[in-house]
């Protein structure tokens, strides 16, 4: 095998078309792979194959937040779920004078997943603790996946249901422990 076809780790390089290979955005390609890797690490998309993840990655929106900027705020209707690519996000509940911090979300974690089910108001706010890049997955895009690629949509919804179920169990256990 020619040396120029393998990289330093011995993996096969992606073939580059000599005519338009340099024109077609390498940056865009690298970015897409990156997003697919982030999605793959997110539990909701963990069961999807790379081919299926590519289809999902075509639907996501990349957003960039400065420290202190809100991803969403409490009481606003939910529209999208966010997956953290880089940075940190704090889940906070705004009070009269200060905010109560509930949790911190790190890269590859997700938040606001209930927005994938309906547009009921958010139960807390999400604020970027530092410069953060996030991937947003829109509820209506999930609806479109149901129409176009039902197998992918069912896999996502199944994992979503499992995660919500687990959180419900955990909440019940906490309540029981508190009562005892």
């Amino acid at each position: 095998m020619a040396n120029d076809m393998v990289d330093q780790s011995g993996n096969l390089k992606k073939p580059v078309n000599p005519f338009w290979g340099s024109i077609a955005s390498k940056f865009k390609f690298a970015k897409a792979i990156d997003n697919i890797e982030v999605l793959k690490l997110c539990p909701i998309f963990a069961r999807l194959s790379v081919k299926e993840l590519k289809k999902v990655s075509a639907l996501i929106y990349e957003r960039s937040y400065q420290a202190g900027e809100y991803l969403f705020e409490k009481e606003q209707p939910g529209t999208a779920m966010f997956i953290i690519k880089t940075g940190q996000v704090k889940i906070v509940v705004p009070g009269n004078e200060s905010e109560t911090e509930l949790a911190t979300i790190y890269p590859e974690d997700f938040l606001g997943e209930l927005a994938l089910l309906d547009d009921t108001p958010r139960s807390a706010s999400a604020k970027a603790a530092e410069k953060t890049e996030a991937l947003a997955f829109f509820r209506e895009d999930l609806g479109e996946l149901v129409q176009t690629y039902p197998v992918i949509a069912v896999k996502i919804m199944r994992d979503l249901a499992i995660i919500i179920g687990q959180r419900l169990k955990a909440a019940n256990e906490q309540l029981t422990a508190r009562e005892q």
Binding site: Y65, Y70, F138
Partner: protein, 436 residues
């Protein structure tokens, strides 16, 4: 030393945050103003291609759910797009071909004008009771005769063949340019129109000889070819827009959503989706409604004895125009009545319909289609799609046609619907998100 007051949202000093917000507002306002002005300027400058562009967009919009169905059935997206494009291209070619054969050429136009003028005058004389010189006219004619005569003279002025056209008619009568000779009956109409006009034949220069007549007949062929080429040059955009919008797969939407500030990200997604759904439903509903109306006209006009060719032509135009309130009815009534006026041998499946009462049958058909449209098609097909105030419809049509001609006339209502839906949804969502 004074304490630095921090802003709750960003944990940065208040003065720095307020300056940043102000700068951002100025930048967004200026950018939005420049974008709007650029779009308006472009639409104005490129007005000839606006209609082909929008029609391509509309078809892409309508076909997107079909593409989703293909994808769900396991047909790859690329193959689905190619299939839809092939169907679209075949349909456009077929329509252009069919319309080309339906649109009357020079000979047919001369014959149609002659027939129409003759029949119109004949029926006018019959209805007014002035068929023979000894008749004094009906009650209506005795009171309104002068005004009615003037009105009829104006119509005759539009229909009458001038000297060149008369010369051409005579040439076609004997067989010209490979076209079959004109029937004796129509030649008789032609002669009677000249012998017994309601008004005198318009003045034309007397120095026109036969050669000039032939030259005139050649001229339209050339101009038709050049106008056809100009049309193709503009309308080639339609299939391309259709194709690229189907290939796009939401990238344009992602680009524009990417420009939206973070604070308005979710609200913009919600607005875009709701507007998209409402417009999609409206357009698909209108398309189905127009198709049903066109089919109803074609069937009914065929039943009352229209030639199939004419029933299809009038039905299609009236169905298409049905997207604009009242215009479809008007076109069906006017075009149907005009045909009923010149129809000679009516062979209807309904025995009581003859050439004499065909015009009443046309009115009946229009009434039936109107009832079907209001009672069945609109409630069940268009459903709860956007409703417009009649005044908005009227102003929109007039304003649209004044600004963009035919394109404005056709697209005024869909544009108003889109703008109305956008504004309403935007305000509703901004309230839901506590932004206003």
């Amino acid at each position: 030393m004074l304490p630095i007051i921090l802003e709750r949202r960003t944990n940065q000093p208040v003065h720095r945050v307020s300056t940043r917000i102000l700068t951002r507002r100025i930048v967004f306002t200026v950018a939005a103003a420049v974008a709007v002005l650029t779009i308006v300027g472009l639409v104005w400058a490129l007005s000839p291609i606006v209609l082909p562009f929008i029609i391509g967009t509309l078809f892409a919009y309508i076909c997107t759910p079909l593409l989703n169905v293909f994808t769900r059935r396991g047909i790859p997206r690329g193959a689905g797009i190619l299939l839809l494009f092939a169907v679209f291209f075949a349909a456009v070619t077929l329509i252009i071909n069919q319309l080309g054969s339906f649109i009357p050429d020079e000979r047919d136009r001369l014959v149609l004008r002659t027939r129409f003028q003759y029949k119109l005058n004949e029926r006018y004389r019959d209805y007014m009771g002035i068929g023979t010189p000894d008749q004094k006219g009906t009650f209506v004619y005795q009171y309104l005769g002068t005004d009615l005569d003037e009105f009829m003279e104006n119509i005759n002025g539009m229909l009458r063949l001038n000297k060149d056209e008369q010369y051409l008619f005579i040439k076609y009568r004997e067989g010209f340019k490979g076209r079959p000779p004109i029937r004796d009956q129509y030649y008789e109409y032609f002669q009677k129109n000249i012998e017994r006009p309601l008004v005198a034949v318009e003045h034309v220069p007397a120095d026109r000889d036969k050669g000039n007549g032939a030259a005139i007949s050649e001229q339209p062929a050339q101009s038709r070819l050049s106008s056809m080429m100009a049309g193709i040059k503009i309308w080639i955009i339609t299939p391309l827009v259709f194709l690229f919008l189907l290939i796009d797969n939401g990238e344009i939407k992602r680009f524009f959503i990417g420009l939206v500030p973070n604070r308005y990200f979710e609200v913009s997604l919600a607005v875009f989706d709701k507007v998209n759904r409402a417009i999609g439903n409206y357009l698909r509903g209108i398309l189905i409604e127009c198709s049903l109306v066109a089919t109803a006209y074609i069937v009914l006009f065929s039943l009352i004895g229209f030639e199939i060719k004419m029933a299809v032509l009038i039905g299609l135009f009236a169905g298409l125009a049905n997207a604009i309130p009242l215009l479809g009815l008007g076109i069906a009534m006017v075009a149907g009545s005009a045909y009923a006026l010149i129809a000679e041998n009516v062979t209807s499946v309904l025995p009581f319909i003859t050439a004499d009462n065909l015009i009443l049958a046309v009115a009946g058909c229009v009434l039936i289609v109107m009832m079907m449209d209001n009672g069945i098609f609109q409630p069940f097909v268009v459903g709860g799609a956007v409703k417009l105030h009649p005044l908005a419809v009227f102003v929109g049509i007039i304003g649209g046609s004044m600004m963009f001609g035919m394109a404005g006339l056709i697209l005024a209502i869909p544009t108003i619907v889109v703008v109305k839906e956008m504004v309403f949804t935007l305000f509703s969502e901004l309230k839901d998100y506590y932004i206003i």
